[in-house]
């Protein structure tokens, strides 16, 4: 029993996409699929040439935010989307009816149709793969060359993520929606 979350030191991201490749390999994501499970978004620099604000040109890794109050879970008519014992938002593909309500309800565009199972899938924090094998890191974290990602138990006071969140300022995406994401962007 844990309450898993992830901290992202997103300003360290170099957009090498190693996390996307590792996720695809580890979780059997469809090859060539775009924005399945995780992706890296990029902001264009603001300002007018030559006065560009280069600090605004950031890469922002994103994925399912594993919200504490996940809209996708609330709207699911058959409880196919559920919280597992580690507070990870998961999908029971046997129960998914492909009504697409979760795709419309998720503010982070984190849900997508897996064409092989014809169900709506998402990031699971490697719960079916690495965590099930007893490992303590996700594929995306493990492969990141600049250590953008820190995954761990938010309820464990001594975990690396808990220490990071105590010592570094951070924000959540679309926090005003009250979804209480468990992905934290370090500033």
């Amino acid at each position: 029993m844990a309450r898993y979350g992830m901290a992202l030191d997103y300003k360290n991201c170099i957009n090498c996409k190693a996390c996307e490749v590792a996720c695809k390999e580890e979780n059997g994501v469809e090859l060539g699929a775009e924005k399945h499970r995780i992706w890296v978004g990029s902001n264009n620099p603001t300002g007018i040439w030559p006065n560009l604000d280069i600090t605004s040109a950031t890469f922002v890794p994103s994925q399912c935010q594993h919200c504490e109050d996940a809209p996708c879970q609330e709207v699911c008519p058959t409880q196919a989307t559920y919280y597992d014992e580690n507070h990870v938002v998961r999908v029971d593909s046997d129960k998914c009816i492909l009504c697409s309500y979760c795709m419309n309800a998720c503010p982070y565009d984190a849900r997508y149709v897996d064409d092989r199972t014809m169900t709506i899938d998402k990031c699971t924090f490697c719960s079916d793969t690495r965590l099930a094998r007893g490992e303590t890191t996700t594929a995306c974290q493990n492969t990141c060359p600049t250590k953008v990602r820190t995954f761990g138990d938010l309820d464990d006071y001594d975990s690396e993520i808990s220490q990071l969140l105590r010592t570094r300022e951070h924000f959540s995406l679309k926090a005003h929606l009250g979804t209480n994401p468990k992905l934290f962007y370090l500033t």
Binding site: G41, A80, C96, I97, P107, V113, L177
Partner: protein, 397 residues
């Protein structure tokens, strides 16, 4: 108990109808046009469904950014029609307005066929309809508006069928009882359908109390348009004094309802724009620039209201044509509701170099979606026609 149920079913007054009877109708140009269109639409439905079964959702133009397409809009169109007809049917047999008893049986039957047409369409939009039937019961998502909407509509359909049987049997007391419960369940279901959109806090343009209430209002309006269309076809636009009186009353109510709707829509759009709230104001401005929004306003609101206000609803023939315009407008209303909700992408960053950040989500239905949608209309007309042959849908007195 079984014997009683058997007796209840066997005593339902049903006309014996052969294929020959179904094909024997007045071969007027208008009837022939409707018959040919109906058969063509059903043929398109078969082709559309076959294409869907082969290619699954790839046969549709729905995308990750726009997962709900034309079929959802058409489903809403049919269930709104059903709720509207239920309200119209209830005026006479539930609330006891004598003038409207004329249309009760026909409207309740209409509410059954329209919701069945809606179910026929949505069955090919939901990816796993059989799984839905199983897990709706085994693991109900009680916080889901879709669960409540679907479940309540199922109960509503049952009550409508039972009410219709009692109406056929002339048991007005039981019809009233089932009609009242059916109406309340139907309104709850319909309001929940509005909340499917209203609950989307990721979509500020739809989020809020507006849709759950607006759906009830527009259902009533749709019901009156359909009442006019059904009565127009029934009496070939040659209305008796009794029917005229009823239609005049309905037109007056419609004038009031459309006026309220115009207030609703005007203030919704203005409050959406006012203050420039991100993700809402720019979407509303975008909607103002779409022709489908103006098609909705002109066809469903302006034209019918203008015709009512000309002589306070005293021209039922003219309002029959306005009702056809109104129903086309109501279709755009449903399409706009679904499309506008999804106009703004939820993820606004570019994910590849040399790519522009996402702007508006574009959608135009595929041929398969259009074929299944027209097929829904064909099924609805065909079921209604068979019903007019099988049952006496006119008032008994």
């Amino acid at each position: 108990m079984i014997a009683k149920a058997k007796e209840f079913i066997t005593t339902i007054p049903v006309n014996k109808v052969s294929i020959k009877d179904l094909l024997s109708f007045e071969k007027s140009p208008r009837n022939m046009l409707v018959a040919v269109l109906t058969v063509a639409f059903i043929a398109l439905f078969v082709i559309g469904v076959a294409n869907y079964l082969i290619h699954s959702h790839h046969a549709y133009n729905v995308t990750r950014q726009h997962p709900w397409g034309l079929l959802i809009a058409v489903y809403i169109f049919f269930v709104v029609s059903s709720t509207g007809l239920c309200i119209i049917g209830s005026l006479g047999d539930v609330f006891g307005f004598k003038d409207y008893e004329l249309i009760s049986k026909r409207a309740i039957f209409g509410s059954i066929v329209t919701i069945l047409a809606g179910f026929a369409v949505i069955a090919f939009e939901i990816g796993h309809p059989v799984t839905m039937l199983i897990y709706n019961v085994l693991s109900p998502g009680l916080t889901s508006a879709i669960w409540w909407m679907g479940t309540l509509y199922g109960i509503y359909l049952t009550f409508m069928i039972v009410e219709f049987i009692f109406l056929l049997k002339g048991d007005m007391k039981s019809a009233k009882r089932f009609g009242l419960i059916g109406l309340l369940v139907g309104l709850a279901a319909h309001s929940n359908l509005g909340s499917v959109f209203g609950f989307l806090n990721a979509r500020p343009i739809s989020n809020g109390v507006f849709y759950p209430t607006y759906f009830i209002l527009t259902a009533f309006i749709t019901g009156i348009y359909l009442a006019y269309i059904m009565m127009g076809f029934r009496y070939k636009l040659d209305f008796s004094a009794e029917v005229k009186k009823m239609l005049e009353g309905l037109a007056k109510i419609q004038g009031l309802l459309i006026s309220i709707l115009i207030f609703f829509v005007a203030w919704k759009m203005l409050t959406d724009v006012y203050g420039g709230m991100p993700n809402r104001a720019e979407v509303a401005v975008h909607i103002f620039h779409s022709w489908t929004f103006w098609a909705e306003v002109i066809l469903a609101m302006i034209i019918p209201l203008f015709i009512i206000l000309r002589d306070m609803g005293k021209s039922p023939i003219l309002f029959f044509w306005a009702s056809l315009s109104g129903m086309v407008g109501v279709f755009f209303m449903r399409y706009n509701l679904v499309h506008d909700t999804q106009l703004k992408p939820l993820q606004m960053m570019k994910i590849e170099e040399y790519q522009l950040p996402p702007e508006w989500v574009h959608y135009f239905p595929s041929m398969t979606e259009i074929m299944i949608s027209l097929g829904g209309l064909g099924l609805c007309i065909a079921m209604y026609y068979v019903g007019t042959k099988l049952f006496n849908l006119d008032s008994d007195h």
